[in-house]
């Protein structure tokens, strides 16, 4: 949770990320890649938590926003970055990530404005549909490599970038929710009608949550693209969205620390789980059902219950 020293913690976290990044050549490549995945998943889970947890909406389209950001960022890098001088590459990367995030945020706005007048279950379907539409668009667009996707994206995502962005995401989402303005998110989550009666505009808060969440999902997509070096439309299907949703549910909706723990844990067990093969999905589904029955507030939520009472 945020406190007075939040800014200091943020700067500290970014500093540590950069230092670790400089030393990262000594780490085992495999573990480095897993660590970068952890960072990307933290960004995704914390940004989805703003929508699903704090604001109490239910989006199933996070992978769609991630795809938008990833494709846009990768395209920018491929067009401008590959031939550019070495010193300018971090700047181009930053620009690509931000542009990807902004386009994803615009997509969030485009989905959010019409659909956020809707209640939970409608929203889930609309966001699901949106994710599918995005995938179809990329799959048919020649500019974005159609079904093959984009390849040979430079591997620019380092530990520093990954955890730097993760720290910024946690800081921005945390500060937003804990600000005077941000109390509105929790109010909308707890009771939309009561919040409206108190002079809070629920639709505006929902759209804001969507736009901010989509922005960070887009940035995460950019990091993802520059970490895996290839992008294909099938990587951003419904299951990817579900993976992120599970992180948020497991951590406890609206519980930032819990969601971060869940993102780290789930990413770390991804590889061992892969050994389960086809059983992996069954286990995932069972986790969702059992958690909803026994601990809807998530594994890591203690004390006051904030999650899952939309």
């Amino acid at each position: 949770m945020m406190h007075v020293g939040a800014k200091r913690s943020l700067l500290g976290a970014i500093l540590i990320a950069v230092v670790v990044s400089l030393l990262s050549a000594q780490f085992n490549r495999y573990y480095r890649d897993v660590a970068i995945d952890v960072a990307i998943n933290i960004v995704l889970a914390v940004s989805l938590n703003l929508i699903n947890g704090h604001t109490g909406q239910f989006s199933l389209g996070h992978a769609g926003f991630m795809a938008v950001g990833g494709y846009i960022a990768a395209k920018i890098t491929l067009v401008f970055g590959v031939a550019a001088a070495a010193w300018s590459q971090p700047l181009i990367f930053l620009g690509a990530l931000l542009t990807g995030g902004i386009v994803a945020a615009l997509a969030g706005l485009a989905v959010g404005v019409p659909s956020l007048r809707l209640r939970g279950d409608y929203l889930a379907i609309v966001t699901l549909g949106f994710g599918e539409i995005i995938r179809v668009i990329f799959q048919t667009s020649e500019t974005f490599g159609a079904a093959t996707g984009l390849v040979a994206i430079p591997k620019w995502t380092t530990l520093g970038w990954g955890f730097g962005v993760a720290a910024i995401t946690v800081y921005v989402v945390g500060s937003l929710v804990n600000s005077t303005y941000g109390r509105g998110f929790l109010a909308v989550h707890d009771d939309e009608i009561a919040a409206g009666a108190m002079g809070i505009n629920p639709v505006r808060y929902k759209v804001t949550a969507f736009v901010v969440g989509a922005f960070f999902a887009g940035v995460a997509g950019g990091l993802f693209a520059h970490s895996k070096t290839t992008l294909s439309p099938t990587g951003f299907d419904f299951m990817k969205s579900i993976d992120i949703v599970v992180m948020v549910i497991l951590g406890g909706m609206g519980n930032t620390v819990g969601v971060i723990i869940a993102a780290v844990l789930l990413t770390a067990v991804q590889e061992p789980l892969r050994a389960l093969g086809p059983l992996r999905g069954i286990v995932f589904a069972l986790i969702i059902i059992v958690l909803m029955m026994l601990r809807p507030q998530g594994l890591f939520s203690f004390g006051k219950k904030k999650g899952a009472n939309a």
Binding site: E132, I193, I282, I288, M293, P296, A310
Partner: protein, 302 residues
């Protein structure tokens, strides 16, 4: 003539959507939530028929009408039981929980069924050829071609829709369903056994899904564990289009969506975005008429 042909094809597809949409809309009527697992019940219906077909063929001979009727009834019964079990095990314990919890559980149940069926020990993820249940003939009428199976689907759907209307409007249990849908607490106070009504609704909806699943499989190139997802989502959109909770609305929405999709699929240039059309319709309807074509706007009271 070309357009008339498209219309007929669209109606055949749309009537299947309508059957599925009825299940969504009835469950929504009594429980006010979207049963995400409905599309998987549809898939289970098709698989039931797939495994029943050789046994029926052994008794009644290949492509017999009586055998097919038995297959449809048996698959509907199997799926009714599955639907009732899903409600009993997964949704009933959460009856008074927040809606979001139930929604997430429903997604969990849907994924559970899909992944379990994809596992090699169950059905396997590969596409299986669906047996030809009935002899297929091309019918010609005033220049329009129509497969005999499509015509059968249309007629059977119409019969089932009428049966549904009869059950809901003219029987005692139907009255109980309407009562629970109108006001669950008041219905309970009037002596309606709410749990039984909800079980019945799930059973009925799942049986319809099974029939729809078989019809869908007869038109599709084959069956696989994820086959229910696409028609399921479209049927849900059809239910919203007609006004969720509204039975004639679901039928109308299904037919309309089937026709629109088929017509759009026939226009060059638009056809690659065919998959997006249903969602575009959904978004439009939610903006301009969120209660659906036949639905009434309900004001939420505090």
């Amino acid at each position: 003539m070309h357009w008339l042909q498209q219309l007929v094809n669209g109606l055949a597809l749309g009537s299947i959507y309508a059957l599925i949409a009825l299940g969504y809309t009835m469950v929504y009527g009594v429980l006010r939530f979207i049963n995400f697992a409905h599309s998987d019940v549809l898939m289970l219906g098709a698989y039931s028929a797939f495994y029943l077909a050789p046994r029926m063929e052994a008794v009644f001979g290949p492509q017999s009408a009586v055998g097919t009727l038995f297959i449809i009834i048996a698959a509907a019964a199997i799926c009714a039981v599955i639907g009732i079990l899903i409600e009993l095990l997964a949704y009933r314990p959460l009856r008074n929980r927040p809606k979001l919890t139930v929604l997430i559980t429903a997604i969990g149940v849907s994924l559970f069924i899909e992944f379990t069926c994809q596992h090699g020990a169950v059905f396997g993820a590969d596409t299986k050829a669906f047996p030809k249940l009935l002899p297929s003939r091309e019918l010609h009428f005033a220049g329009i071609e129509m497969a005999s199976n499509d015509l059968l689907v249309l007629v059977l759907t119409a019969v089932l829709l009428f049966a549904m209307w009869f059950i809901v409007q003219r029987t005692k249990i139907g009255m109980a369903i309407r009562a629970v849908s109108f006001n669950e607490k008041a219905a309970a106070l009037m002596g309606v056994n709410v749990n039984r009504v909800i079980s019945f609704t799930f059973g009925l909806g799942s049986a319809l899904a099974a029939v729809a699943g078989i019809f869908y499989a007869m038109r599709a190139p084959g069956i696989e564990p994820l086959m229910g997802v696409q028609p399921g989502v479209r049927a849900f959109i059809a239910a919203v289009l007609g006004g969720i909770g509204n039975l004639p609305g679901a039928a109308l929405g299904g037919l309309l969506l089937g026709v629109l999709e088929t017509v759009a699929g026939g226009i060059p240039g638009v056809s690659i975005y065919r998959d997006g059309i249903a969602f575009a319709i959904l978004i439009l309807i939610l903006i301009f008429r969120p209660a659906g074509l036949l639905g009434r706007a309900v004001i939420e009271k505090v």
